[in-house]
Amino acid sequence: MPDPATGVTVTIDGVAVVVPPGTTILEAAKRAGVLVPHYCYHPSLPSPAVCRMCLVEVEKLPKLQPACVTTVADGQVVHVNSATAKQARQGVLEFLLINHPLDCPICDQAGECELQDYVFQEGRSGTRYAEYAKRYSPVEDFGPDILYVPNRCILCTRCVRFMSDVAQAPLLNVSERGDRAYIGIADQQRLDHPWAGNVVDLCPVGSLLSKDFLHKARAWDLDKTASVCPGCTQGCNISIDTRDEVVVRLRPRPNLDVNRHFICDHGRHDYRWLNRGDRLETPRVRRGAALEPEGWPAALDAAADLLRGATGRAVVLASGRASTEALGLARRLVDAHAVTAAIRVPLGDEAPLPAVPGLALRRERVPNLQGAELAGYRDAWDEGIAALDGAGVVLLLDVELTDAERRALGASGAPVLLLGTVDGPECHLATVALPVTNMAEEIGTYVNRDGRVQLYRAAKGAPGMAQPAWWVAGELLERLAPGVAGPATAADAFALVAQGVPALAGLSHGALGFTGRVVALEGAGATA
């Protein structure tokens, strides 16, 4: 018998589960593997119990109960799929549809629409509202990226509650009453809050739409990949949605410890660089003035020769978007040298999401500042640039340099090994240029500001001959250090890096799962 102070037993559709006291029937049902259909309920928002979709039958109670706000009682027997409960849901669905335009063929939400899903699952097959005109209101422009289509709205008020209770910027409201009600926006205001885009994800129907995604792709044509937002050091969990090898949108992926169900608009919209067309696609080796295409074996040999022949201080300039694996192995390439290893960390304004402690768009706009520091890099870009003067060898890991920085690099006269994603002006300064994948094309880990090591997965194919930077560095390491085998997989690469980083000891890709693992950052880095 469970202790009533710590657990109550409820039976839901015949499945008995023990849940903590105070759990709602809806959440308890999830534990029992029973989905209670719902619209207004959302685990990251307060529950108003207004859609009435989650009404369930509770034995010994005369009326159906809203599962989203009714807490469990010990010994309770709940029926989610009884005839009475189903009839009530069918009633709600019928009511929701009478004024719904059913313009699914032109609606972005189709395919991931909760109204569509539940109607298909258990709604009536025909309408009894045939004689009347549906309610009509024109589309409203709510903000820089948000359109409101009132005709499709089911008044679940998730958007209103997100803005008032989570963003704590009460810009949205329910205006009017009865069947004339619609979502209103505060007079003279725009929905331009840095986290406003979440209302589009929260909307269970196609009523709030992203202009960026408008009519871009059908939901069923999208491939979704679990990833980590590369926008800042917060490390929000995201899904990269691609269609035919093109990233078409980023959406939040739930991680209650990092970002709950939200991402900021900065992260959401900064994805076009993942689709850049001006990519470095072929390994190139300098022969005189010309940088000539080469196959991988010859190019790797040339790069290994470059490193082997180098003397003096090594300067490594890396992107904070590079994986921990790539950063760690690249750093290992120059272990024999005195090293200045720096990453560039662009800064912006911090934008917290008030109701979620510890969640903000961070000032540091790179995803892997902590991972880089663990791997022996410093957030000291200017020092890195200054060290170019007199450097013996320079390693560039997917960085873009300013004109002045390129001049400094050229003036140093040191051989330059470039691992890059973009066929940019930096290539002209390279001795050997090797094409690498961007974060959407590889498997890797980022370490967020709290030391959470999180895995991101490959969402699309690599262009041309590009390979993950960890693979390139591993191949070079194999050539430079006899006895070291280059890693065959990203997981191997992580294991190799972890050997040299105490904080990562014992971790593996397999252990990270979909929500990551937290490691101690304090004094644990390999930085001397």
């Binding site: 009326k63 159906l64 709600v92 004689e131």
Partner: protein, 433 residues
């Protein structure tokens, strides 16, 4: 009394004794008529004693639900350092109901005194009177009476020298029927949209501003001073049928009677007496067809059901309807009941707060179907549809507004099928809605 008519011998005038007497409005006039004796007595009693008397009297909520008032007061926690609030619901908006309006218009001090005693009973120092926005004249009178009560020491920091503090704040609504629902009313006072809240928590745990709150109707609170002065036994004795219904009840009678108005009768008085004696019955040559006994939210009653119905909570419930607010709409044989329930449904469709799906969409759909029937375009399937909608709108929402829309429709279809048949078969001329 049947103001503006003189009181009828069959009435029992307690609350309405001074209706029509402008001198009773002022503080002095009210004291001359025995006013504020109840409050003075309450100041000598403990909260528990006050609650015990009210419990013993059998007084039940006059706003519609009929919940025992003393019991409701006893749900309030002991003083805990948190402020307690009394809220008086004066948002009388139920179609057919106009009793609270007259109480406030003629005897505002009767209500203020009841509010003050209520505060003492529930350990509250502040009472909010939420008055319907359209009640401009009653509001003016009430505000003036509150000022007078303060000036004469009946309210304020030292009520009648007792050292007790009681404040009364008059808050005006802005024209929403739903704000008469107690939790919507609290949201409205708090400055929020007047949407009903989910219960639990109940107001006694977390009500106005999240504090323990009791909410009572105007007529309920107005009865309290009389109970304190004349005793629970006296009040309990005012009962002609069921012992569970005690005291007097004001009925606002409107419609096809010869003398519409407010009538105060002892609980259990035959409904026939009210309609046919006190109100003078039907117009000459007309016969009774239907009665809505307790405001537009309750099921209709047939003439047969009226015959032997006792006017109390149990008597009307026995006829399948509800005493409700006491807003009695009487209809003779000229009434078109399809049109009547359509008008009711239209009202609810207009007033739905739009939170719950069944109510937001169901009230409007119900009104549309009834409109079709009125236009002569109805079919037998529409009657089934109306009943299906009513089923979906009953017992499934946060508050009972959608239930209130459904009840008259269902009862009309069941009790007066011929009214609908007349439209469906083309016997009755279509009416442009």
């Amino acid at each position: 009394m049947g103001f503006p008519h003189p009181s009828h011998p069959k009435e029992t005038v307690v609350l309405s004794r001074h209706f029509g007497d402008p001198a009773a409005r002022g503080f002095r006039g009210w004291v001359d008529r025995g006013g504020y004796e109840g409050l003075r007595k309450a100041l000598t009693m403990s909260a528990e004693e006050i609650v015990a008397v009210v419990k013993e009297s059998g007084l039940r909520g006059r706003g519609g639900a009929g919940f025992p008032t003393g019991l409701k007061w006893s749900f309030m926690p002991k003083p805990s350092g948190k402020p307690h609030f009394l809220v008086c619901n004066a948002d009388e908006s139920e179609p057919g109901t106009f009793k609270d309006r007259e109480i406030i218009r003629w005897t505002p001090h009767q209500l203020i005194e009841g509010c003050a005693i209520g505060c003492l009973g529930i350990h509250a120092e502040r009472c909010y009177i939420y008055i319907r926005g359209e009640f401009t004249e009653p509001w003016r009178i009430l505000v003036q009476a509150v000022e007078e009560a303060y000036a004469n020491g009946a309210l304020g920091t030292d009520v009648f020298g007792s050292g007790r503090r009681i404040d009364v704040v008059v808050h005006r609504g802005a024209g929403a029927y739903i704000c008469g629902e107690e939790t919507a009313l609290m949201n409205s006072i708090e400055g929020k949209r007047g949407n009903p809240r989910i219960k639990p928590p109940f107001p006694a745990q977390a009500g106005l501003f999240g504090m323990p709150t009791t909410i009572n109707n105007v007529e309920t609170l107005s009865a309290v001073p009389h109970i304190l002065v004349r005793g629970a036994e006296w009040y309990k004795g005012l009962s002609l049928a069921s012992p569970k219904s005690t005291g007097t009840k004001l009925f606002s009678v409107c419609g096809h009677v010869q003398r519409p108005g407010n009538y105060e009768v002892t609980m259990g008085t035959p409904m026939r007496d009210l309609i046919f004696d006190m109100c003078g019955g039907m117009r000459p040559g007309r016969t009774l067809k239907a009665v809505v006994p307790g405001g537009s939210s309750v099921p209709l009653m047939t003439a047969d059901e009226v015959e032997d119905c006792a006017l109390d909570y149990e008597g009307i419930a026995a006829k399948g309807s509800m005493l409700g607010s006491g807003g009695m709409i009487v209809m003779d044989d000229t009434a078109d009941l399809v049109r009547v329930v359509w008008r009711f449904a239209k009202f609810y469709a207009h007033e739905s707060c739009a939170q719950c799906t069944q109510c937001r969409e169901g009230t409007a759909w119900t009104a549309k179907v009834l409109e079709r029937i009125l236009q002569g375009k109805g079919t037998a399937a529409d009657l089934q549809l109306l009943q299906d909608l009513a089923e979906q709108m009953t017992g499934k929402t946060i508050c009972v507004l959608s239930d209130s829309c459904a009840a008259p429709v269902v009862s009309a279809i069941r009790k007066f099928p011929a009214e609908f048949e007349a439209y469906l078969s083309g016997r009755r001329e279509p009416v442009p809605a």
